[in-house]
């Protein structure tokens, strides 16, 4: 039951009942999307805004899938993985990730460069309460595909900052897979949602989040992401391809205070040469 690629989530009514109890001390089974999670007012509104008069396909998991834990191990950092099948790699133009019941449902918009062979996108998000999470992809030939998953969680957006939230803002770490086909990027940033309360002072913590990420390999932009407060503290982005990602990998980040950070990874042989720089605006560094 721990295999993300095989487990199916439980029937909706059961999920809904369990969600009343699930508070983060939850199970570990993973659900693969089946395109049938409940709709919601938020989704119906966003569908009209982003996809008016569009027909959205929802059925073929071999084309694209969304994996999310049915019961999140951490509502403030719930892992999501978008996987693209052979037929989809190189033909995806844009993906929006929407968390219906979050205060700011649009978690991220990924714009994939033409022909870029992105096979997987992984991230961690805040889940405020039990919700459908959906990914809508626009293909290069103008079709739309959606996958959704149901996640039980609560309180992810208002969870107080972790004790690890100190540290150097804008630090970036690279972790390639041994075959160089994937790169895990960890970004040191509080990504304050604006819904968190400082437990000491009782005062709200103003929102301060990573708003844009550009991911390039060997001088070519693979994708750019517009991101928001639903990304977790210390956001991560994991990009996988069906072929080795050519070094240098460069990540450019902008946050909501217009601070800019970037870092590059120059390949396994030059790993120690990985560098990271930041330029703060508004005194945010």
């Amino acid at each position: 039951m721990h295999a993300p690629t095989t487990a199916r989530h439980s029937p909706r009514w059961r999920a809904a009942a369990l969600s009343l109890l699930a508070v983060g001390f939850c199970g570990s089974s993973f659900a693969v999307s089946d395109g049938q999670t409940p709709s919601s007012g938020a989704w119906e509104y966003l569908q009209k805004q982003f996809y008016p008069d569009r027909s959205i396909g929802v059925l073929d998991d071999s084309y694209m899938s969304l994996t999310a834990p049915a019961n999140t191990p951490d509502p403030a950092a719930t892992p999501l993985t978008l996987h693209f099948g052979d037929a989809a790699v190189g033909h995806i133009k844009q993906i929006r990730v929407i968390i219906d019941n979050n205060p700011s449902p649009l978690a991220a918009t990924f714009d994939v460069a033409g022909g870029a062979r992105v096979a997987e996108i992984g991230m961690r998000v805040r889940i405020d309460r039990f919700t459908s999470v959906r990914a809508i992809a626009e293909t290069s030939d103008g079709k739309f595909e959606m996958r959704s998953a149901w996640v039980n969680a609560s309180g992810g957006c208002s969870a107080p900052p972790g004790p690890m939230s100190a540290g150097s803002l804008g630090d970036i770490r690279f972790r390639p897979s041994p075959d160089s086909r994937s790169m895990l990027i960890s970004i040191r940033h509080p990504n304050n949602s604006g819904f968190q309360i400082d437990p000491r002072s009782g005062e709200p913590i103003p929102s301060h989040y990573v708003s844009h990420i550009r991911f390039s390999a060997d001088g070519r932009t693979l994708l750019e992401a517009d991101t928001g407060i639903s990304l977790s503290e210390n956001p991560t982005l994991r990009i996988a391809s069906d072929q080795p990602l050519p070094a240098p990998i460069v990540v450019d980040i902008v946050d909501s205070k217009d601070a800019h950070f970037n870092a590059s990874w120059r390949g396994a042989l030059a790993e120690s040469a990985a560098s990271s720089t930041g330029s703060g605006a508004g005194g945010s560094r």
């Binding site: 721990h2 951490d74 107080p160 690890m164 630090d171 991560t236």
Partner: protein
Amino acid sequence: MRVPALRVLFLRALIWPMASIMLHASVAAAAPDLAITIHEVAPGVFVHLGRQLALDAPGHDDIANIGFILGQRCVAVIDTGGSMRIGRALHAAIRRRTGLPICYVINTHVHVDHVLGNAAFRQERPKFVGHSGLDAAMARSREFFLQHYAGDLDQPPSATQIIAPDTPVEQTLELDLGGRHLQLRAWPLAHTDCDLTVFDDASRTLWTGDLLFRDRLPAVDGSASGWLTVIDQLARLQVVRAVPGHGPLSTDLPSALDPERRYLRALIDGVRDELAQGSSMQHAIAHVATAEMPNWLLWDSTHARNVARVYEQMEWQ
């Protein structure tokens, strides 16, 4: 109703859930609402063994080991259970045995199953004693407790029922109960950021709080590596018996710590390998330490969370 230590030894040998059912079948019917089973595991040392249930299961307020130590002058309570109901039952159990004042209520850490009964002792005007980090940890948890465990408080639920310590322990503190002394020790980041142990010098009994889980899968709310360091220190202490936070008592603390040490080591090593491969958190959850699964109760409700937490921390080590 005093249970000889020998019987406790016997019970310990049983599979825990079975023992739990047996113990609860023998609950006395003296108290008005609820009576809990208490064992006198050493002269003046009384333990109620919690049940191995998930934190969202019916009966979740009675999952921690709680109890009290009786001196000649007064009584110290060690953890109060996960509800006012359990706190009152513990209070009633004390009053069935002694009229001495309750001078201390000690919390071994912040978790709901150990602290939510505190207010049941308020009228005794005890000192509430905890790790110097417990006050802040309570502040962080108060809203969460009110939202998710409101039913375990008196109605209407209120923040004033969630009682933080007034007597912080920075490193060590000795409490005199008359004829016996308790040595309290605050530990660095391990199970939580506010772990406290209580050593009774008269019986050489160590209450570990949740620094020792037996049978039930340990929950990492602090630092797995910090916890391993503390385990090594605990294993060197000269104690006759240990009262874990969850699971049966032990007369061999170093051995009792072994399964927990092995699991935490597997967590850390597994997550380190996953990160070295650039694997996602989901992959880590599906693969790290899974060989440990048959050794523990309540795996599904805790293991994924442990992996996620260790992963998030080790990302920046």
